[in-house]
């Protein structure tokens, strides 16, 4: 993917840049709002990562608003030290697609960037069937089959699996699952998400000889075919 990173802190920028490049992405960088806006307008990117607070009068939200006014729909992830829910809402209202607060784990940022990049490409045609290896999901009939065998899932389990399948091959974090599958925006003290994933595994993976859902240490989960 082609990614633009606008971040003024040198250490954070170098850290994110290195991680994204190691993951095989092409990344442009800018350390102030003016350069960032110029690049965002003149070049074409798959995902923009914008820091909210930037020096030089143009902050991340201003860049975002300018782009949206010009009908530029490139997915935008806002980075911010403002953890307040109101700030998050303001960022999303301005046209942001996701919001990560500092300090963040790189795995969290990476997972969200990949999810955004994927969305930019795949949401053109609404899908009614999802398939990964021998797993099939019928979104209309709400049925799941693996190797031709029907699997009974609770509605929430279905949504969880659907989210994993839609992001097959990508790491999804626990926070992402809590936000997207349950629509909760808090940090649970206990391992609520792990327990739900483990239940899903019991139904989707346990009866079969190879597993689709894998745990990624310090990051989250991935559903992949290998």
């Amino acid at each position: 993917m082609r990614i633009l990173l606008v971040e003024d802190d040198v250490t954070v920028r170098a850290f994110v840049l290195k991680g994204l490049r190691e993951a095989g992405h092409v990344v442009d960088e800018a350390d102030n709002g003016k350069d960032g806006l110029f690049l965002a307008v003149s070049e074409s990117y798959d995902v923009l990562i914008l820091d909210r607070m930037l020096p030089g009068g143009i902050d991340g939200v201003r860049i975002l608003e300018t782009l949206r006014v010009q009908n530029n729909a490139t997915p935008v992830l806002l980075l911010s030290a403002l953890a307040d829910v109101d700030d998050r809402v303001a960022g999303l209202k301005a046209g942001g697609d996701d919001y990560v607060t500092k300090p963040f784990a790189f795995s969290e940022l990476m997972a969200r960037v990949e999810a955004l990049g994927r969305r930019g490409r795949s949401e053109v045609v609404p899908q009614t069937r999802l398939t990964v290896a021998d797993l099939e999901m019928d979104l209309l009939a709400r049925t799941v089959k693996r190797g031709g065998e029907k699997i009974d899932l609770q509605p929430r389990e279905f949504r969880l699996l659907e989210f994993l399948v839609r992001h097959a091959g990508q790491v999804v974090t626990r926070t992402m699952l809590l936000e997207r599958v349950w629509d909760y925006h808090f940090d649970p003290q206990t391992n609520v998400i792990d327990v739900h994933v483990s239940r899903l595994r019991q139904k989707v993976d346990k009866p079969f000889d190879h597993a689709l859902i894998h745990t990624i240490r310090n990051a989250g989960y991935i559903l992949r075919a290998d």
């Binding site: 953890a83 829910v85 909760y184 649970p188 003290q189 206990t190 327990v195 310090n218």
Partner: protein, 472 residues
Amino acid sequence: MRVPQFLVKSFKPRWPVRSAGLNFALAYGSVFVLSAGLFLSFIWWNTTGQIERRVEVAVQVDAHDLAQRAQRGGMAGLVRAIQDRLDHNVEDDALYLLVGPTGRRYAGNLPGWPTAVSGTDHFYELAIQRDSFRTRAKMHAYILPGGCGLIVGRDIHGRELVRHVLMDTLIWAWIMVSLLAAGGALVMRGIFRQVVGSIARTTAAVARGDLSRRMPLTGNETDSISQTVNEMLERIDRLMDGVRQVSNAIAHDLRTPITRARARLEEASVTATSEQALRSAVDRAVVDLDHVTSIFEALLRIAQLEAGTRRAAFTDLEVPPLLEGLAELYEASAEEASLRLKLRVDAVRPVHGDRHLLQQALANLLDNAIKFAPSGTDVVMHAGMVGNDVFIAVMDAGPGMSPDDMARASERFFRAEAARHTPGSGLGLSLVQAVVALHNGRMVLQDRKPGLGVTLYIPSLGGELVREGSIV
């Protein structure tokens, strides 16, 4: 034309006395002196008026009587009557003069017809010569049928004297009253100063940092001020305590993980022999730092909630779906810990609140319950109505809390003895408390022997009860 602002201001008459106490005293004094003056003037005017009228009435009655005598007894009768009256006039204040048409004096004690008395239509008041002394008299002249002239009068010297004495007395009384008023005003000012002074002394002491001082309650009207000030001080004291406690807690609870992370990194940097060892040290340091971050976030959130300004996201909420969602989320965790999570929702009214904050608060309670409940027991979430409040209770069969711990449970960083060795920051209940307070509700802890029950009471919106079946 517009007049410059400063001119307008300078033309306004301004009362020169700034002291409230002095103004108070001045107002008191002037009202006192003015009312006393009015009162005394009225007495004076009324008394002297009475005297005047009595003289006039006496003269008129006398003259009328004499005129009748003249009619009945003729001139001789009249002369006799006058003489008679003069003889019987003990006070020696009656004045008479009867003259014939030619001016001849027939009777009376006046030496001659006073030149000033020229008409018969009103009373004359003039100085006269009586025997050997001069005096003042009030008299009226009458023309009798037959052309005779009659003067009836009264010596008003005595009355004048009374008037003067009365006038003097009243003026002295007024002076006394004024002095009393001035004294009273000074006393009033003193009382005023004392009242204000006691408030000022206490607040000054507080301003200097002595937060333990309180206004004395004296039982008078200033108590309402004193009480308000005391309540204000109480709140400031509590807030200061909170700040102190939080800064101590921050010093301890944030320093500890930071110190741990620092020690790990430093030790690894000096002693680690393999990349593996170095990596694991770094990973653990990251976990410590994440813990620091989460404490920070919780603290900030609590502070923000306590400031009471976060009501932007308030909407009318149905409680049952919110609880069902949470129960569904936590049911798996409960089962994992060999607990049964039971949800009971009675008919409840909607509440006005922030969905995410309430979810967070209840999630904290469920986290705690699942953390502390022994396996095989039930965790119950129960919602219903008490009066106008919606209550949501989360009950477990864990170790519970001692009454002392309950009183301190919502303090930031407080951790009960039983919780000392479990992971957590001691901010969970503080956050719940802050969320509930933001919703104008309250949190009640109770020891269920065994176990802890935490009940949140949130004012409901008036409206229809939502009938909701029990879900287990």
